[in-house]
């Protein structure tokens, strides 16, 4: 399964290419699943001559499998590999189609919301806020950009790869692995740190922002950090407000800064 797995892993980066409002990532899911289905034609069920990959150009069982997986499906793109690997494993093990369909229905929302919380509203803002702080403190832009790309993409690539492997190894039990490693707890920690760095960003903007010098700097920085702590302690609602307000605060600071 090594080569098909690698091909599926590469195809997962394109899983959203045919995103649409009807089947969402369903087409991309099938596109990424194809190497695994064809790989099964060389191992596992092929011994009985009934493997899903028995005929790579369609027809018979392969056509039925493709028809089942080309419909609606959605997930966070970074966690889609977990569902993909699990479905491939279940197909290889000969699980009933209705069982596989129920599995896909069951994991769709959790994989979407977990991925959104971990990456789109957790890790991504954290990395961007940190990059902004470093840029405002005078670090070279190229170094900061390269650092941000590395910091963001190392966990990103690891999550994509590891979840695909979990799916292939554990089949329908793979989602339980997410619970075991404490993803929900990790999300909270990432958001806490992100909120602290947002406070740091506000403080740095106020104290060393372009063209804006408001003495004394230290009390402003302390106040901004305190604000970050308040957001951190008051929960996600305040966090959302902070995210919404951040662009407006920044624009005002820059406009005022350009005039001072």
């Amino acid at each position: 399964m090594g080569a098909p797995r690698n091909r599926a892993f590469v195809r997962l980066f394109l899983v959203q290419a045919s995103w649409n409002y009807r089947t969402m990532i369903g087409g991309g899911f099938l596109f990424a699943l194809l190497p695994l289905l064809r790989g099964m034609g060389e191992t596992g069920r092929e011994e009985g001559g009934e493997g899903p990959g028995a005929n790579p150009e369609g027809g018979g069982h392969m056509e039925a499998v493709m028809a089942r997986h080309g419909g609606h499906f959605n997930s966070h793109p970074f966690l889609a590999g977990l569902a993909l690997g699990a479905v491939a494993r279940m197909e290889r093990d000969g699980a009933p189609p209705e069982h596989i369909e129920r599995f896909k229905d069951a994991v769709r929302s959790p994989l979407g919301s977990l991925g959104d919380a971990l990456f789109w509203t957790g890790w991504l803002p954290l990395v961007m806020f940190l990059a902004a702080v470093l840029l405002l403190l005078g670090f070279p832009p190229l170094v900061v950009v390269m650092g941000a790309l590395l910091l963001y993409n190392i966990p990103h690539l690891m999550v994509r790869r590891v979840t695909l492997d979990w799916g292939l190894a554990l089949g329908s039990h793979a989602p339980a692995r997410l619970r075991e490693v404490g993803v929900a707890h990790l999300i909270e920690k990432v958001r806490d740190v992100g909120m602290g760095i947002l406070g740091l960003l506000v403080g740095v903007l106020v104290s060393v922002g372009p063209g804006l010098t408001v003495p004394p700097r230290l009390p402003w920085l302390a106040a901004a950090l305190a604000l970050g702590v308040v957001f951190f302690r008051s929960g996600p609602a305040a966090g959302r407000v902070a995210y919404r307000m951040a662009p407006i605060v920044l624009i005002l600071l820059f406009v005022l800064g350009s005039r001072l």
Binding site: W19, E57, P77, V127, M128, L250, V255
Partner: protein
């Protein structure tokens, strides 16, 4: 104005940002902070690019590309926005670049919606019996190809308009150039409209727009 080589790099940077936002990996190239700073480095003035990239990044962060939500395409928009900011220069250039970036990000978001609708029509071919591996691959890669075309067109149009704005906005150039203060007043309405688009509730968007306008005018007057 960017040289031919700089234009090629800017085009590549915009296209990469456009593809990365949905179709290709989401490796962070579609973030305004990354694409905007890369554009600034290409144009040799990362300092002028920083405020534009940073503000567009904050704007982008307030929307989450989850499910079928429409989100601004700030990464691609940051490339022409930074081109304007660097080309015009000064506070006026920054404001002009920002306002253009907001508008272009919103238009980019709408182009993604149109592409997704078209993808839906294209992928409906999978509903018919007789689906083959070749058909699945061809349809999926065709969608990727159309996103490539969309990204190229949006970047080229953005850079073209940016060139016009650089000529129009640069002080001392015909038709006379504009003072920063006048530019600020001219650019407040489109900027606030774009900020208001973030709010699904139109009534609140009006309040948000009024608040930002009042804040900007207060900052300018006081």
């Amino acid at each position: 104005m960017p040289s031919g080589l700089q234009f090629c790099f800017l085009l590549a940077s915009g296209v990469l940002a456009g593809l990365d936002s949905t179709s290709l990996g989401q490796f962070l190239f579609s973030r305004p902070l990354v694409s905007g700073l890369l554009a600034g480095l290409i144009l040799g003035d990362p300092g002028a690019a920083l405020p534009v990239a940073l503000v567009l990044e904050m704007y982008q962060l307030s929307s989450v590309p989850a499910g079928g939500t429409r989100f601004p395409e700030g990464g691609l928009a940051a490339v022409p926005a930074v081109t304007v900011a660097v080309g015009v220069g000064g506070g006026g250039g920054m404001l002009l670049g920002l306002a253009f970036g907001f508008l272009w990000a919103e238009l980019g978001g709408r182009s993604i919606v149109a592409l997704r609708r078209e993808n839906g029509r294209r992928m409906a071919a999978l509903d018919a019996p007789g689906t083959t591996v070749t058909l699945v691959t061809r349809l999926h890669l065709a969608c990727l190809g159309w996103d490539l075309v969309r990204s190229v067109v949006m970047t080229l149009m953005g850079l073209g308009l940016a060139a016009v704005m650089v000529i129009w906005g640069r002080p001392g150039r015909p038709p006379g150039g504009l003072e920063d203060g006048v530019l600020l007043l001219l650019l407040v309405p489109p900027l606030t409209v774009c900020l208001g688009m973030l709010q699904p509730d139109l009534r609140r968007a009006v309040f948000l727009g009024l608040g930002v306008m009042a804040g900007l005018v207060a900052g300018w007057v006081l």
